[in-house]
């Protein structure tokens, strides 16, 4: 029994751990194959296309065929590449992404069928498991950075530099949103956090932190609308431009496993982990929270978040890089910091013996003060630059010597041709001639 951890691993021998580790790797690899199919099919449906439907039932074997193709393709190493680092980078990426699921609880203690052996449905857990997940993510970035650098080419380098900046800044917001869960759950071990969500899942009381986590997890995994490190229109393929064959496949694999990772973390920390959703959790005095049932709820929640990923990708456009960084540093991080401070104040008040009604009154008073300040705040006067472009100075059709359309607020002067009847459209070549004729005859 590890101190500070809810799950009991005392019955696990080394062989049990090895079997669990192998099962996790198999689960992740098959999930990635399924996720690629899932994403392509779903995006296709959103764009009114059928999507992959040729290989296997519903096109399910399409990603298997793609994987085989990648395996058998020629492995190109560009001349300028730094060979050792070039090979090392995709390995780091995949290795680090595989590590995260070691501390994710798939369920409570389960009994292996046909035996009496009982073990937690989780490889391991320790008192700082969630920090370990953050550590794995931060080492995983090295794969991207070194891959971009070692390619010896401009676009991959730019992609990797962008990726570093992006992951570091969004990891801050992500870490801050996780802090609120630590405060409420009083632990950083994943099984204890799931244990603490018995009555209420954290995404309800900690809704702001959940929203921050959802946004920063998209930034962290380099997915649309935040996929700037590999923006096709700007950087060809970003850090993986020069990679081909199996090395490319590793990066690809790492990216999809990273999606599964953050979905599983969000499930564990905010969505109750393996716990059954509300009406079902009441069935038969919580029978659906025991045995192998929790595996079903866990997978359902993870794939719900994967659906969210695909939905966001199918809906939103890529941000501009500066807007993206401004959003991360000037909106997400201050917001997350303020939320942690507010939560800390409430925890302190709770410890100091303030009752719930007093807290609610305090919130209402604070809200009233904020509203009053906003109400009485002097309105910002328009600056000189804005005033001149408001279209009050009349419309100059040849501003700057080139025909321009009216901007909002300007109106076109009445057309000189408005009084005349427009002749019916004739052949394109003769129309100009007749127009000139009309001009002469009138």
């Amino acid at each position: 029994m590890i101190p500070g951890v809810a799950a009991d691993f005392s019955a696990d021998t080394i062989w049990v751990s090895v079997v669990k580790a192998v099962l996790i790797v198999v689960f992740l690899l098959t999930s990635v194959l399924f996720a690629i199919w899932f994403e392509r099919k779903l995006v296709a449906r959103m764009q009114l296309r059928p999507g992959p439907n040729w290989h296997g039932p519903f096109g399910l074997l399409q990603s298997l065929a793609d994987a085989m193709k990648l395996l058998l393709k020629e492995d190109v190493t560009v001349t300028n590449a730094d060979r050792r680092v070039y090979l090392l980078a995709p390995m780091i990426s995949v290795f680090c992404s595989l590590l995260v699921f070691a501390v994710i609880p798939f369920g409570p203690s389960v009994t292996i069928p046909f035996t009496d052996f009982t073990t937690p449905a989780q490889l391991t857990d320790f008192p700082v498991a969630v920090l370990y997940i953050l550590a794995c993510a931060s080492i995983g970035v090295y794969g991207i950075v070194l891959g971009g650098w070692s390619s010896g080419s401009t676009y991959p380098l730019l992609g990797s530099v962008r990726s570093t900046a992006q992951v570091i800044s969004y990891e801050l917001a992500m870490g801050l949103s996780l802090v609120s869960v630590f405060i409420m759950a009083g632990s950083m071990s994943t099984s204890s956090i799931v244990e603490s969500q018995t009555s209420l899942w954290w995404f309800i009381p900690l809704a702001p932190a959940f929203v921050i986590f959802l946004i920063s997890m998209v930034g962290e995994t380099n997915r649309l609308p935040f996929d700037l490190p590999e923006a096709e229109g700007e950087l060809v393929g970003g850090y993986m431009t020069e990679y081909s064959s199996m090395k490319f496949a590793w990066f690809f694999l790492a990216e999809y496993i990273a999606m599964l990772n953050v979905s599983a973390v969000a499930t564990t920390l905010f969505l109750g982990g393996w716990r059954a959703p509300w009406p079902l959790s009441l069935v038969g005095d919580g029978v659906l929270n025991t045995g192998w049932w929790p595996l079903l709820w866990f997978l359902a929640k993870v794939w719900l978040l994967m659906f969210l990923f695909v939905w966001v990708r199918g809906t939103l456009l890529r941000l501009r890089y500066d807007q993206f960084m401004v959003f991360g540093w000037k909106v997400l991080i201050p917001f997350a910091l303020a939320w942690v401070v507010i939560l800390g104040v409430f925890q302190w008040a709770g410890l100091a013996g303030v009752t719930q009604t007093q807290m609610i009154v305090g919130i209402l008073v604070a809200l009233a003060v904020v509203m009053a300040v906003l109400w009485l705040w002097p309105e910002k006067k328009p600056t000189g630059a804005e005033a001149t472009t408001d279209g009050e100075g009349g419309f100059d059709a040849f501003a700057g010597g080139y025909p321009v359309p009216p901007v909002p607020g300007q109106t076109l002067p009445p057309s000189p041709r408005a009084r005349r009847t427009v002749p019916p459209a004739e052949d394109a070549e003769t129309r100009t001639a007749t127009a000139v004729d009309d001009e002469e005859t009138r």
Binding site: L131, T164, T383, A399, G401, Y402
Partner: protein, 274 residues
């Protein structure tokens, strides 16, 4: 408290590798390779911390030092120069010998201290009261050393603000709005600027590279579809050259000059999902 067999194996596997990586730091020529060596040492150190029942320290070592500080170093290394290998010329005379002597002195002092020190027998976490790692640490920091921690925090914040102030430059004019930028673009139209982005370089049957110009709707090559740097260096290729090279392979129907757009085959670009 005895050291378990697994921990012994872990130590004797990791320690030589760490020493190798640390000495690699002195030997390798490229700055990024040195950074990779340091990262390896840091992560191995974190693994050893975890093995010694200090998981919090180990994980923080990775998150803070490997994930943030070292990443920042790497960031700077990559931006300063992709190929910046140090030159071995001495800038100060006798610098190398002095450095070697000082290094030996430091090694002898450290070696003497370590050789003369005696360690108390190790006690496991279970014997020290059984409080878990982050909780016990939090008690020490927030109860006994809370003033010291706050002072360090204030110092760090001051340093960060100072960094911001020193690198801050005041903007000379107002920040151009999107409308101002758009108007400037329209105003620059008569001088030959384009509203749309520049056309992409050409894609031909046998060639798809930055240095070949695209063709416009009349079939003439577009000069500005090739990046400016390549044009200044004189590294661009002629479209005509490519087209004649392709003609020797493929019999083109030259009697239909009105239709320069080749017929496009079935869309085969749906290979990757990205």
């Amino acid at each position: 408290m005895t050291v378990s067999g697994g921990e012994t194996v872990l130590f004797w596997v990791l320690a030589p590798l760490m020493v190798l990586a640390a000495s690699g730091l002195l030997v390798v020529r490229r700055a990024v390779h040195a950074a990779v060596c340091v990262v390896f040492v840091m992560i191995s150190l974190a693994v050893l911390y975890v093995a010694q029942e200090a998981p919090f320290l180990g994980v923080v070592q990775v998150v803070v030092y490997t994930g943030a500080v070292m990443m920042l170093f790497l960031f700077v290394l990559m931006l300063v120069g992709v190929d910046a290998a140090d030159s071995l010329t001495e800038t100060i005379r006798g610098q190398r010998w002095v450095g070697l002597l000082l290094g030996l002195g430091l090694a002898s002092v450290l070696g003497g201290v370590i050789a003369r020190s005696t360690f108390p027998p190790p006690r496991g976490l279970a014997e020290t009261g059984g409080v878990t790692n982050p909780v016990a640490l939090a008690r020490v920091v927030m109860e006994h050393y809370v003033v010291a921690m706050e002072v360090v925090g204030i110092l760090l914040v001051t340093a960060a603000v100072a960094g911001l102030v020193l690198t801050h430059r005041r903007r000379l004019g107002a920040k151009p709005t999107q409308r101002a930028l758009a108007e400037a673009k329209i105003a620059a139209l008569p001088t030959g600027r384009h509203l749309s982005p520049l056309p992409a370089p050409g894609v031909y049957a046998q060639n798809n590279a930055m240095d070949t110009p695209a063709l416009d709707h009349t079939g003439r090559p577009l000069e500005h579809s090739v990046p400016r740097v390549l044009r200044i260096r004189g590294q661009q290729r002629e479209a005509a050259e490519l087209l004649t090279a392709e003609e020797t392979l493929v019999h083109r129907e030259l009697d239909v000059p009105d239709d320069p757009v080749p017929s496009v085959g079935p869309d085969s670009s749906e290979g990757e999902t990205r």
